[in-house]
Amino acid sequence: MIGLRNTHTRARAGLAVLLLVGLGGLLGCDKKGGEKTADEGSAKSAAASQSSAGSKAPNFTFVVAADPETFDTAKMTGAPEGRIAMQLFEGLLVPGPTTEGLDDPAKLMRPGVAKSYDISDDGKTYTFHLRDDAKWSNGEPVTSADFVYSWKRILTPDFPADYDSMLFVIKGAENYKKSKDDAPDWETVGIRAPDAHTLVVELINPTPYFPELIAFYTFFPVPEKTVEEFGNDWTRPENIVTNGAYELASYVDQKEIKLKKSPNYWDAKNVSIEEATVRIIPDLNAVTNAYRADELHWTGTTLPVSQIAEFITHPDYRRDPLLGVYYFRVNVSNEDSPLANADVRRALSLATDRNSLVEDVLSGLYEAADSYVPKNMPGYESTTKVAYDARKAAELLKKAGYGEGGKPLPKLTFLYNSDENHKLVAESIQKQWKSNLGVDIELVNKEWKIYLDDIDNLNYDIARAGWIGDYNDPMTFLGMFKTGDGNNDTGWSSAEYDALLEAANTEADQAKRVKILQEAETILVQDGPIIPIYFYTNNVLVSRDIKGLEPHNRDIHLLKYMSLSE
């Protein structure tokens, strides 16, 4: 401790403290006068059901779970980015407001920048007719040259586009991207713009889901002039030029994104919501708290059991379909492991009581899986069903030489990323397999990035996994288990399966194609490296003041379809 000797220095020390505190006050004043979202003093009970959700928000407010990594549609990969991109930009086609009641995937798409399109008889050439009144937010017209520029940009060999493979359905695209030439020949790529309002795309195979791909953000146009002028900075709010229903008004890191209606959008007269606030809230507890405090119109992301359980009777609670499956990956790459034996894998699958898991452990929030491709896939129905049959499971295990009378099954590890929901599932399955098959499972939970690393390096026995479809075709689920696919991550390989997928790719007749895909799914479910557990549902809270936020199985929601009642 230091003694003070004279009052002069004491006064100075005191002043320093005062200054420090004063500075805090100043900073406080500095940020005052934002929006008036905190209507203090209006005491109200926790029963949010009494009042209207979002009533304290100044405009339409919803949540994304993380900061967008980028606003550049060519580089993005994640859900938060996609949700924002869908409002800011528009592809040749746009997803409709809902997938409910649709049995034909072709009907999902609506005209966007293209007012119509033709498909050649062999299904391989798409000709898009662009509308004359499509404009960028700076008033310049959107032309077919914009699309050629944007797609060529992604396919430029050293351009860091994470989803470049989305474009590989186009003739010559993959070769161009992987070319080691300094100046690869663009003429070899099947993308042509004969005039400003026509775009011709040649595909390798008849790809029935191409219209849906076209509406995916990787295929969105980017503004050539702005990109060339500002380089990587073109996505900053002060520089960015967009062609969708909304413009990027502002973005504050970790806090919020503001969107405002674009007056130059071709369909602006039908866009009702003028402004929207997108809050960035990673913690799901904070999301439900904000919803309870009437600050949100829509929770945006699906909420897990721990967060949603107390909202199940809330009138704003909705359980929408989601084109996704929760399943277990089984590592088959280690030949000494019992898991290399398909009978053991099937035994584990048969010993899994999915209904009891979903009903008793997961509060009935999801739908027990009876196959791998989700039920709500329009125009497709799985022909192979997985079922719970403990006796058959034990028999299969015995047939494989394990269990009673055979070798004891060695202890297996079950890997999941640290999360409340995954823990519930893992513990329940551990019990089921122990009682049904006598198998000892060791649960291992790891932080997300390490979990990914382990999956990538096949450093696991059995691991939880989830897959949300990229388009409404079974290929988005089945394609990943092709030999050597980057998303396979199980070491599984089947020549028969690969051949079926290849046959499906080249088959122009959709009915025949579906049959082939059903066969492939049968192989995958019977012998494959997967154990389907449940089909995801989208558990969200949506204010009843919002009209036009319809259930969509890929969780795509365009603000331009929505309106806010007063």
């Binding site: 230091i2 220095t9 420090l20 940020k31 203090e40 005491a43 109200k44 050293d158 806090k255």
Partner: protein, 338 residues
Amino acid sequence: MSRFIIKRLFGSVFVLLTIVTLALWITRMAPSNPCLKERATNTCGCIAVHKLDRPVFPVYLSVPLEPVAACDAWEPVSEFSVGPVHILTAGWGDTQYFHYVDQLLHGSLGDSMKTDRSVLETLSSALPYTLQLGLQALFVALLIGVPAGLYAGLRQNTMADYSTMTLAMVGVSIPNFVLGPLLIMFFALDLGWFRPNGWDSWMDSVLPSITLGLYYAAYIARLTRGGMLEVIRKDFIRTARAKGLTEHAVVITHAMRGAILPVVSYMGPAVAALLAGSVVVEEIFNLPGVGKLFVRAALNRDYNMVLGTVILYSTVLVFLNLLVDILYTVIDPRVNYD
């Protein structure tokens, strides 16, 4: 004095460089890497852009990161074995360490490996929130801690003293991850006086500041009480009383100044701890500050962002320590660094 300051500034640069070296090594030691995503993506491109396939230091033991077989592996300059240890070497200019320090010397903290924004830009957007939160928490701590300490100190061994100090003990013992959610439950959700999270107006900073400041309030109360007990028995206080001053005047003009001395010397470490300690509070209240940024960056393996935050925190700490040392000479003439 100026010689001392210059010497210390040079020392600080050395300290910071050591911290950067260690932190860089630790980030690279952590399993997984920034380029790994749930879905197969252009991983090789990402690795090449951030030079993650390069060795971290010129002499290294294991091969650099090669998560995908399709990526071009980095070739070492030479390899040799010492007993069971296999050692590889690379040119200085090729290492990730050289690249990073070179970047620092050019005044850049680099770009985030997760987002397409620069580290400096992201940090400067987050820093004002953390500063404001820390300083307001300090204000809360002083506003509660000093009067409570004085009150207890002047009534030693009475009921008032015991109850105040018990409260202070409770305050020190409640972790902020318990206090924060409790405050949200009562004051935001039940009473509706505040927002449960977010930061748009000054009102939104009240609950986080209390959550962060209460621990320090309790600590400061104990310090002030101790200071008061020491001072109140001093001769000059007895003299003041003998002169016939009122008790009020004795306490306010004579005793208090001495009593808060320990608090003043605690300010340096307290400010540093408040700035670095806001990690949990920022998470609970979803504040767009540096603490939350740091946690996200670490979980995402955003090496550049982690290092940028570490450099920011350590610079603040080094600077505050220097400031405290200089202040000592101002406060106490017996301290002389020359």
